[in-house]
Structure formats: structure tokens, C-alpha cells
């Protein structure tokens, strides 16, 4: 193996914000006071928050040091399954930071915000085309928020039909947020197991689908990285009982330009712009979760909607059947600009190529590692593949130990212990932006770790050794929570 990626460098300690600074310092240039003081009644005023006083240098060093304790896609490979940690192009950041966008008030009269409305209008059309659906709302602020919005649409649809239903089918290979999103709309999730091939069988769906079931929430490609091959038959079964098919589109990165969900029986789906469309994950957000729908659901979409009238764009509230609003304003506009820019930069051919290469990278990893780690489902995968720790348990080495050891080798670990259908799951999603050399290095690292597991398991038990901190006591953190200093 070449020289390993992981090494150690000088990392500085840094106290908590309020453990530094001195009263009277300020890291902010106070604007000139050009009006007379006009004090408020003392009954109304407080003492002001107990914030530390810091200089600009104090603040800059604080956050620069903290940033160095973090690992991002810009640092190295981050193969977190189901999270699509692809490279976030820098030009997208530039576009989103243009003053005309960052400075815009969300309630400006339409004539004063044509650029934003045009972008949103076109962006909706692009997403509608990519998914093969008929209409899109950009308002949901994250993937799970999109799921909730989708469930609200389904709820509104059944309500209008005059027959509200109480259940919804959620397979074991669906995203973790799905049952909670459905429950928020009062639906009771009915679990269905995937078959021995890791996908949902039409028979299993037929068994539970009835006329009290609102529909099914299927993640496609699913969280095992497999395409739901029977999706059309499943959609027919659900539709025949008056149910609807919701697709969690978090994994659309595998099928852009290859499958249009709207053409294979999906009624409603959400996209995760921070996954498929390259917007940065920001340490856990902000995201954006547009919802794409077939014609029958368009009247229910959140308002206001961007409408074109003679080449001008307006915001229309004129949708009496709309579910209302899921966010105060228009959703994560700043995130939309980045995703829109990404689509413009890529064009139709490169979007398809991105999906092909994402699938190539995942299959390559699967083939090269399947003799090293236990492969849960040995069949062609989409954008991710799922291994487990089955073969290492004899050495008392678990998935978590291998994940932590990967850090010492300079990689962010894959998603672990998810999906739940695979015991000790290790879910690897390389994405298309990783080169063959980087992937080879990742494969070599995992091979070396598996070898260590057999020869010197404590290397893994004690990992990581090169990070700022060693393994953290999560049990103590939950037992005696300390959530503020």
C-alpha cells in the first residue's frame, strides 16, 4: 500500500467561547449613531444577554481552530451511504452570494424580484423534467420536510375524495424519517419486509394493501442501494385499491436521465437538493426538499406559486385547494440557487453521466471488497452498496470499530448500522465525484483494516487515535445531559 492518507498534524486546543474574551471587547463595528437616544420604559428592558465580549481576532481564531477539527468533502472521501456526499462546486457558492439574491426581502412586490421568480420558475421546470412528474413545489426546507409536505398532499387528496384512510405502507428499506413523516399526518405506518433479494415484492404489498390504506412510501432506489424492480406492479396494486405511491427520492442521484419516476407509477416524490444536486450539507443543513407531483396533486401544492404571465412572473395565492404553507416564505432559496446553478453547469448529458459514474463507483467498490467484507446482497447495485461485520465478529471486531479505524486512515466512515435490515450494516456511497485513485485508496484502507482485525483487533478497538478526541462517551452524554454551558 502507498503511504496512508491519514496522518497527524498540529491541532490547537480551543476553549468554549465564554471561557475567553474580556468585558469591553467587541468584534463588530457598531454603526454610527445618528439619532438621539430614546430609552424604552425600564419595565420593558432587561439586562441584555450574558454573551462574552470578544475581539474580531478572538472570534476568527476560535472558529478557524474549530473548523480544523472537522472533516468535510473538501478534505477527503466521505462515503456516507444514503447521504450523497458529492463535491459541492464552488461556483454555486459564488452565485448564491450575489448581492441581488442575499439581500432580497421575501415579500418584495413581484416587479422588484423578477430574477428570483424566474430562477424559481425555471428550476421547478427542470426538476419536473428530471423526475418525469408534472409540477413541483420548492417550499419544503429539507428532505424530511418534503416527505411531510408529500404526506399532506396525499392526505388532502383522500380528504377531497371523501374517504380518509388510516394506514400507510412503509417497507423496511425506506428512509428512517418516513414513518415519522407519515405519523405527523395521522397515518399509522404498516411495515413490509423486503424479500431475500433486498427489494419489495408485489405479493408482499398486495397482502397488506387495502381500502383503508392511503398508499405506500417507497424509497427508490432503496436504502440497500437496489432498484425496486417491481415498482410498476406495486404501483398498480396500490392504485387499484385507491391508494397512492409516494417515492422518497433521496437516492435519485443513481437514476438521473435514466428513470423518470413519474413514468413508472409514482404520484408524489421529494428530492433532496443537498444530496442529488450538490448543495453543501453544512454540518447538517440547510437542505431543501422540493416535492414533485403528478397533475392530480397540483391543486394541493403549497402557496404562493410562481406563475408566468406574458413573460413576467408573479406569486399566486389563487389555489383554493392548496394545503397552505409549510414554510414562512419560499423555502431555502439560497440552496435552490446552488442546485439550479449545478443543473445549468451540468446540462442533461452530464447529469446522466453523473448517475452512471455514481453507479459505476459503487459497483466497483462492491466487486473489489466483496471478498474482504461480507456483502449483504450480492447483486448489481445502484449508487451504494451495503456490507456487514459478519466475518469480523469472530475477532470481536464490530462495524463501529472498523468505522473508527477508517478515520485513522484519513477517510470519513460510511453510514453504519443502517439500514436496519442488515445487521451491523456498513453502507458505502462513494458518489460520482470520487476518482478511481481515491476509491482505490479507500478500498486498500478497508482491506488493511480487515487484516488488522484478524491480527491485532485492539488497533480497531482503540481507534481512532489520530483525531482531536478519542471515542466519546455517548451513554454518559444521554444519561446526564449537559446541553448548554
Amino acid at each position: 500500500m502507498k503511504e496512508p492518507l491519514g496522518t497527524t498534524g498540529l491541532i490547537l486546543n480551543e476553549p468554549l467561547l465564554w471561557e475567553k474574551g474580556k468585558k469591553g471587547r467587541c468584534g463588530y463595528s457598531l454603526p454610527r449613531r445618528d439619532v438621539e437616544p430614546c430609552p424604552l420604559d425600564q419595565e420593558l428592558t432587561g439586562e441584555g444577554p450574558d454573551f462574552p465580549d470578544l475581539s474580531e481576532v478572538d472570534v476568527v481564531r476560535h472558529y478557524t481552530r474549530l473548523s480544523q477539527w472537522n472533516f468535510g468533502v473538501d478534505t477527503g472521501m466521505y462515503p456516507l451511504g444514503s447521504c450523497t456526499m458529492k463535491y459541492s462546486p464552488k461556483t454555486n457558492e459564488r452565485q448564491a452570494s450575489l448581492l441581488g439574491f442575499t439581500g432580497a426581502h421575501p415579500l418584495l412586490p413581484a416587479r422588484l424580484c423578477q430574477g428570483a421568480l424566474k430562477m424559481m420558475f425555471e428550476f421547478e421546470q427542470y426538476l419536473t423534467e428530471i423526475t418525469g412528474m408534472d409540477a413541483t413545489t420548492l417550499q419544503p426546507a429539507a428532505g424530511a420536510h418534503g416527505e411531510l409536505c408529500g404526506m399532506l398532499l396525499i392526505h388532502a387528496f383522500h380528504k377531497k375524495k371523501g374517504s380518509q384512510r388510516s394506514k400507510i405502507i412503509v417497507p423496511d428499506t425506506a428512509h428512517g424519517t418516513n414513518p415519522a413523516s407519515a405519523a405527523l399526518c395521522g397515518y399509522r405506518p404498516v411495515p413490509v419486509r423486503s424479500n431475500e433479494q433486498g427489494i419489495l415484492s408485489a405479493e408482499a404489498v398486495a397482502e397488506v394493501m387495502d381500502e383503508d390504506t392511503a398508499g405506500i412510501m417507497v424509497t427508490n432506489p432503496n436504502t440497500l442501494g437496489l432498484f425496486e424492480e417491481d415498482i410498476q406492479e406495486i404501483a398498480e396494486i396500490v392504485h387499484s385499491k385507491g391508494g397512492l405511491v409516494y417515492c422518497d427520492g433521496a437516492n435519485v442521484n443513481a437514476v438521473m436521465g435514466i428513470v423518470q419516476m413519474g413514468k413508472i407509477g409514482i404520484d408524489v416524490m421529494q428530492l433532496n437538493l443537498h444530496k442529488t444536486f450538490s448543495t453543501p450539507h453544512g454540518g447538517g443543513g440547510p437542505g431543501s426538499g422540493p416535492v414533485c407531483v403528478k397533475n392530480e396533486f397540483e391543486p394541493f401544492l403549497p402557496v404562493p406559486r410562481v406563475v408566468e404571465e406574458n413573460g413576467r412572473y408573479i406569486l399566486s395565492e389563487n389555489y383554493p385547494e392548496s394545503v397552505g404553507k409549510v414554510a414562512a416564505f419560499h423555502g431555502s432559496f439560497g440552496v435552490m440557487i446552488k442546485a439550479y446553478s449545478y443543473i445549468c453547469s451540468m446540462g442533461p448529458k452530464n447529469l446522466k453521466k453523473a448517475s452512471q459514474l455514481a453507479v459505476l463507483n459503487a459497483n466497483y467498490i462492491k466487486e473489489r471488497l466483496k471478498g474482504t467484507l461480507h456483502l449483504a446482497y450480492d447483486r448489481p447495485c445502484m449508487h451504494e452498496c451495503v456490507f456487514s461485520d459478519k466475518d469480523q465478529l469472530a475477532h470481536k471486531v464490530k462495524t463501529l470499530d472498523m468505522a473508527k479505524r477508517l478515520m485513522d486512515y484519513g477517510f470519513h466512515p460510511p453510514t453504519v448500522y443502517f439500514p436496519l435490515v442488515v445487521h451491523g450494516a456498513i453502507m458505502v456511497e462513494p458518489t460520482e465525484t470520487e476518482s478511481k485513485e481515491d476509491i482505490d485508496q479507500f478500498i486498500e484502507a478497508l482491506k488493511a483494516i480487515v487484516k488488522e482485525a484478524g491480527e491485532d483487533p485492539d488497533l480497531l478497538h482503540d481507534a481512532p487515535k489520530s483525531c482531536k478526541v478519542k471515542r466519546l462517551d455517548e451513554v454518559a452524554a444521554a444519561r446526564k445531559p449537559c446541553l448548554a454551558g
Binding site: 468584534g27 472570534v59 426581502h105 404553507k325
Partner: protein, 443 residues
């Protein structure tokens, strides 16, 4: 393509390892009739330079400072953001990481958000705060649902002076649940009328916004006492977080849950999003909180460190019984807010908040002098309602031509308030700007 690193040689050698002939064959598990024939109907790709031109053209059509003087707040506020924050926030170790599932590799995000939680607690006078939500409106909806879980009651009362768009989000969230939302009317001096509470029983929560949508400061202490008599939870909502740099915080006035919008704390308006939903509560309700929480702990060597905690409330463990469906929060926005609170500091935030208040008072008094009516006489922070003459719309349009946005018309939200406008003044509006507004208003 610059983001796709594969050479043709890479592709052939990888295909060989996989054992298929070409890229299309990778999709053998996708049934033939599920596949798209032909290409997506999207515009051809743009070069980086073409994209710059395209986006700049879109951006230039937007009415923003300094070209336009926008006297509009209503849940989205123009405040100065120090360059240091934009630079620090652009550090890619923060920007390109994800939810800190692997704490040893994410201590930067974890400590920073723990600090955010702490500063939020101190700003709002509460005991625990979440790691952030999508926006102020969803934070309110989640708070109300939380109160329903805590009290096991199914009815909530919310002030009609909570931001109208927040109330619509609440209605949307509540529509399929069967829970009831009752709205409280407002009094002639621009604050919530809580007399209606007398006839209501079995309330899970009462939610009040302060400063309210009209900019008026509510008497939270008195309302809180009334809410406690009803044995309901007292939720305080806000849209202008900076107000608590000067005003008594909600915690000191009896709030059980505080939720609102933190955009004012160093986050650009960005046409309304991404924003920062803030949510804080008393410690006793900690385990009912929705969303992510970060806690302090120790590593194997006893060193201080931070982790995501109380995950048993969350959907990946509790599935449909989770306290919410939230997975993504708005972490980078929370980080911006923490940087902002740290930069402005305890001394600075009070001065800055006072300046906002004093500037708004200046405009108020100049408008009064010019003969306009300030509709509500309750004390305000940096927003207030002006009653203009009949047919003011034409004047409003005339001012737009002069690149002045004279506030927000209230009629679409409160039909009884025709010709009433909500005006906002922050530290970004100079005395000259305000004088120019007043003189333009006088025909």
C-alpha cells in the same frame, strides 16, 4: 466535465472489474420499460463564465440595498453582517461536512453548535435549546405539537398577532391531526386580547409573539400568569431575535417554550431562506423537544468533547413514535448566528438593539410631525404600523419608482387595516434615508 474525474481509461478498467461492457449495462436491474428513452429535455450545459453572466443578470433585477431603501421587516430583517462571519462561514470544513454522526471527526461542528445552543439559551432566558429548525414558522408549529405531547391535550390558542404566515404554517401542520387551533383577537392598542382565554378549557398551550406582528411589545409577564392559571404551556414566539438584546427575555417572564426566527443574527435575508428556526424550553421538557440536540461528554482519556445526544427521541430509533420527523436542521445558519452573537458580544448587542429601537422611534416621530398617524400606541422595538390616507397605494407605487419600499401593506393579512403599513427601521437605515422617506411621502 470538471466535477466528473473519470477518464475513458478509468471507466473501461472499472467496468472490467464490475464485469459489464458499458455504462448502460450497469442498469440491468432497472426493467427496460422503466427506462427513459432519449435525453432529458434541459438546456445545454453552461461554462462557468456563461453561468456567471446568467446569474448576474438575474441578480441585477432584484431590488436590494444600497440601491433600494427597503423599510420592510415583517419577519425578515436587514442587518449588517461583518465580513469576518462570511469568511469564517465559508470554511469548507464546516460547509462540506454533514450531520456529525461520527463525533471524533466532527468536533468543530459539535462544539460550535453546543455554543450556539448555549448562546440561544442565554438570549432567550431558557434552559435548553435545540440545534436549530428550518425557520421561525416551523419552530412554532413544532412547539405547539410539543405542548400537545407534553400536556396530552388537543387544543391550542394562538395570538392573532403572531406573524400571519406563521399562523398559516401552523394551520397546515395541524390540518390532518384533528387538533384544534383557536386564534385570539387583538386590542385597539395593538396587543393580544387574552380575555378570550377565560372561556377556553383544556388548552395545551397559549402562543404569543413579542414583539408582535405590529411591532408592539406584549406584556408577557401578565399573559404568562393567566396562561398558568389555565395550566397550559406558555409559548413565546418571535420574528426579530435582536429585540432580546434590549427587551426582557421571554424566560424571565414565565415562558415554557420559546421559538422563533433567528435570521437577524448574521444570516442574509436571501429571499426568505435558508433561515434559522430557534427553539428553547425549560429543562423539564427536554425529552419532548423535537430535532437535534448536542451535549457535552468526555472521551476515553477524560478530555472534553461533544456528541449528538438524546437520540432516542428521534426518528431513526423511535420511528413513528419520534418527537418529530426532523433529520436535517439548519446547522450552518445556527453556526452563523453563533458567530454573530460572539462577534457582537454582550455589550455590543445591547447597544445595537438600542440603536434599532431609537432609529425606529426617530422615524415614528418624524412621521407624526408630518401628520401621519401611528396606529397603535403600545411601545415597539424596530417596527410599527402607520395609518396612511385613503388611496395610499398610488403613493407607495410612486415611492417604488424612487427606489423606496415604504413597508408592507397590512390589508392582505388584516382586511380591517386598509391603508395601514408595517414599517421597519434597523441600524442599516441612516437618518438621511428616513428623512428622504418622510419627505417623499408628503406630496
Amino acid at each position: 466535465m470538471l466535477y466528473l474525474p473519470h477518464t475513458n481509461e478509468d471507466i473501461s478498467s472499472m467496468l472490467e472489474v464490475v464485469g459489464v461492457d458499458n455504462l448502460d449495462d450497469l442498469f440491468s436491474t432497472v426493467p427496460e420499460d422503466c427506462r427513459l428513452n432519449g435525453d432529458l429535455n434541459l438546456p445545454e450545459q453552461l461554462s462557468e463564465w456563461e453561468l456567471n453572466d446568467h446569474m448576474e443578470a438575474l441578480s441585477h433585477s432584484m431590488a436590494v440595498s444600497p440601491e433600494y431603501k427597503v423599510f420592510m421587516g415583517a419577519g425578515s430583517y436587514e442587518h449588517f453582517i461583518p465580513a469576518s462571519i462570511s469568511y469564517l462561514l465559508g470554511r469548507s470544513e464546516f460547509v462540506t461536512s454533514y450531520t456529525p454522526y461520527q463525533p471524533e471527526m466532527s468536533q468543530g461542528t459539535l462544539q460550535a453548535i453546543y455554543e450556539y445552543q448555549t448562546l440561544a439559551v442565554r438570549l432567550l432566558g431558557m434552559e435548553v435549546a435545540t440545534a436549530s429548525h428550518y425557520d421561525g414558522a416551523t419552530a412554532l408549529a413544532e412547539s405547539l405539537l410539543m405542548a400537545i405531547r407534553v400536556t396530552r391535550r388537543s387544543k391550542v390558542a394562538i395570538s392573532g398577532l403572531i406573524h400571519p404566515l406563521y399562523r398559516r404554517v401552523v394551520q397546515t401542520y395541524f390540518e390532518p391531526t384533528g387538533y384544534e387551533v383557536v386564534e385570539l383577537d387583538y386590542l385597539n392598542h395593538g396587543v393580544t386580547d387574552i380575555a378570550g382565554l377565560d372561556e377556553m378549557d383544556d388548552l395545551a398551550a397559549v402562543a404569543i409573539q413579542s414583539p408582535n406582528f405590529f411591532g408592539c411589545i406584549e406584556n408577557l409577564q401578565a399573559i404568562g400568569e393567566k396562561v398558568r392559571e389555565k395550566e397550559a404551556l406558555f409559548i413565546v414566539s418571535f420574528t426579530e431575535a435582536l429585540a432580546y438584546g434590549l427587551l426582557k427575555n421571554p424566560g424571565s417572564q414565565g415562558a415554557d417554550i420559546v421559538c422563533g426566527e433567528g435570521q437577524s443574527l448574521g444570516i442574509p435575508r436571501s429571499f426568505g431562506g435558508p433561515a434559522l428556526g430557534m427553539l428553547a424550553s425549560r429543562k423539564k421538557y427536554m425529552r419532548s423537544l423535537p430535532g437535534r440536540l448536542i451535549g457535552q461528554t468526555k472521551d476515553l482519556d477524560g478530555k472534553r468533547g461533544f456528541v449528538l445526544t438524546l437520540a432516542t427521541r428521534e426518528q431513526h430509533i423511535r420511528r413513528e413514535k419520534a418527537t418529530s420527523n426532523i433529520c436535517t436542521n439548519n446547522s450552518l445558519c445556527a453556526l452563523a448566528a453563533a458567530m454573530y452573537m460572539a462577534s457582537v458580544g454582550g455589550t455590543g448587542i445591547r447597544e445595537l438593539a438600542s440603536l434599532n429601537h431609537d432609529k425606529a422611534e426617530y422615524l415614528k416621530s418624524e412621521l407624526k410631525k408630518a401628520g401621519f398617524k401611528i396606529r397603535f400606541d403600545s411601545p415597539t422595538f424596530n417596527e410599527f404600523v402607520v395609518e396612511f390616507h385613503k388611496g395610499f397605494e398610488a403613493t407607495y407605487r410612486r415611492l417604488l419608482e424612487k427606489k423606496i419600499v415604504a413597508g408592507l401593506s397590512l390589508a392582505p393579512y388584516y382586511p380591517e387595516l386598509a391603508n395601514h403599513y408595517l414599517l421597519c427601521v434597523t441600524e442599516t437605515r441612516s437618518r438621511e434615508d428616513m428623512d428622504a422617506l418622510v419627505s417623499s411621502l408628503v406630496p
